[in-house]
């Protein structure tokens, strides 16, 4: 839309003089720069999301394998009713995960940002190290660590410190712990960026004014770190709700999450409309939260991404 508006403006400017054409070129420059990547994102991000919604309103026989579009909103109501348990379970796991991630990541990133000194980037690197190993492999390692006869519980059971029936794997605890582990960097990065940006002299000023350490934190650091907390929440909450790898690798039959259902329906049952409906629910939740975030902090805020 911006393209048309600007080219129209240029055309009305008449035969370009030297200066004008340069200005015009400058004005058109961002549009030419945007074009290839913008078109790509349109085709492989925006259009697919639209088609996901389209698919979610299709109906048709799972037997014939053919689907047709007929505004089948029943897909949504049916899925929500049928998978109520998994939806509620996913959201509750995700709430616990988000809180745990924030509680674990905040003190850590606070210390690095304020007391890391010249080692800041090195310590941050240590935190991001697990990133260099594939998500799936990391999760599998936790299966070995938390296994009934694994590295941690095996020796404890041998010593008789734990009953033989004790287990963590295949329980909600394992799934929540796994998701927490995997999403911790996504929480830590925006928090670190926000905390790192805080002008340390503000804390000094608060102390000059006889503020205690706690009060300086409460009234200076905490409010200034809120953009990071929001960004961390955004990057953790909805993705954690949609996670299915942890439930699949660390969980059991009683820990199935909504992501497992979506995956199962899409890739095994090939029931695209029902799977798409569930996926759209997650997408809408994300869009709502992202819009709120953009409304409050603006889309230019790069707290989300600077640390990358």
């Amino acid at each position: 839309m911006a393209t048309e508006a600007l080219t129209a403006q240029d055309a009305s400017a008449g035969p370009p003089t030297r200066g004008r054409s340069y200005a015009g070129r400058r004005r058109r420059a961002p549009l030419w720069l945007m074009m290839p990547g913008g078109v790509y994102l349109l085709i492989f991000l925006i259009v697919p999301m639209g088609l996901l919604v389209y698919t979610s309103l299709q109906s048709g026989g799972a037997f014939s394998g053919r689907f047709y579009f007929d505004w089948d909103f029943a897909n949504y109501t049916d899925q929500i009713v049928q998978y109520k348990t998994q939806l509620i379970r996913s959201v509750s796991y995700s709430v616990i995960v988000t809180i745990a991630c924030l509680l674990l990541a905040y003190p850590m990133t606070y210390w690095i940002a304020f007391y890391g000194g010249r080692w800041k980037s090195s310590i941050l690197l240590l935190i991001l190290l697990p990133f260099f190993v594939s998500f799936v492999i990391r999760t599998v390692q936790w299966r070995f660590l938390l296994g009934d006869d694994g590295i941690i519980f095996g020796p404890l059971k041998d010593l008789g410190l734990l009953p033989d029936s004790f287990r963590v794997l295949a329980t909600p605890v394992a799934v929540v712990a796994g998701i927490t582990y995997n999403f911790l960097p996504f929480t830590a990065l925006p928090l670190y960026v926000a905390l790192e940006r805080i002008d340390k002299s503000l804390v000094e000023a608060a102390k000059d004014l006889y503020s205690s350490r706690w009060k300086a934190f409460r009234h200076v650091v905490w409010p200034l770190s809120l953009p990071g907390v929001f960004a961390a929440f955004l990057l953790t909450f909805v993705p954690a709700t949609g996670d299915y790898v942890n439930a699949a690798i660390l969980g059991g039959p009683g820990t199935t999450m909504i992501g497992n259902i979506i995956q199962e329906k899409f890739l095994r049952e090939l029931n695209y409309p029902e799977a798409a409906a569930l996926s759209v629910i997650l997408m809408v939740a994300m869009l709502i939260l992202a819009s709120i975030y953009a409304r409050i902090l603006g889309t230019e805020d790069d707290t989300l991404t600077t640390a990358l």
Binding site: F44, P48, F132, A206, L209, P239, T299
Partner: protein, 287 residues
Amino acid sequence: MSATETRTAPSTGIEPAPLHAPNKRWTRFILPGFTWLMIVYLTLPIFVMILYSFNDIQVTPPRQTPRFQGFTLHWWRDLFGVAGLSQALKTSLMIAPLSALAATGLGTLIGLALGRYRFRGKAPINFVIFLAIAVPEIVLGSSLLSMFVLAQAPPIGFTTILLSHIGFSIAFVAVTVRARVQGLDRSLEDAAQDLFANPMTTFIKVTLPLIAPAILAGFLLAFVLSLDDFVITNFVSGTESTFPVWVYGATRIGLPPQVNVMGTLLFSAGLFFAVLNVIVQRRRARP
């Protein structure tokens, strides 16, 4: 910000006499202690992965066991002993550079446009970039599969994986470059233009060298993202397997120890580049 409130602090009885007295109490160890504990927790699975690449497994076919059974270099020597796994790693290592290259090209241009110019439609594009980063992978994966199924082209496999990887990497490259472009000293370019450099020359001789570190960082990020991705790839891969997809599939029947060896090698490569980056940055920061 709330100085008026904090001024009442002395009434709480805390003696404020020496300003900024260093914290001498044992509590000063809480935060660093906690941070180091967290680092141990975060890197624990990596150590397990490396350790178990030396696990002397006796069963055939070799599958990882929970208990460490002794030290062997066998799996390191027999790195490509599992055909499916080697093929999957090869696919991953073919897709990652292609995807990273394309995403870096497209993303850099977007980053330049967003960091440099003010134009109509900028806010929606910023929002799209933001969305591409924040949207849950499962939503993106199922969206892309929906599209490929409806379009019935291209055939699900290598091409669809590559197209999808480029798609989700662009945004990451764009924000990395955007941040650098925004922090750029514009007077350097103005100086070049004052010295009669045309816009193209200015870009190649001045702008490009200045943003090169961000472009490289974006490329490496896109490379790692592609290599690591499981959720989206699993949706759009069909019968094709990348490294993470193969590993996920194998978890049901047990993992061959070569997975740990390959994981360790990829990790070492990542670590090498990360350390290099820290060293370069430190050298540059030195006056």
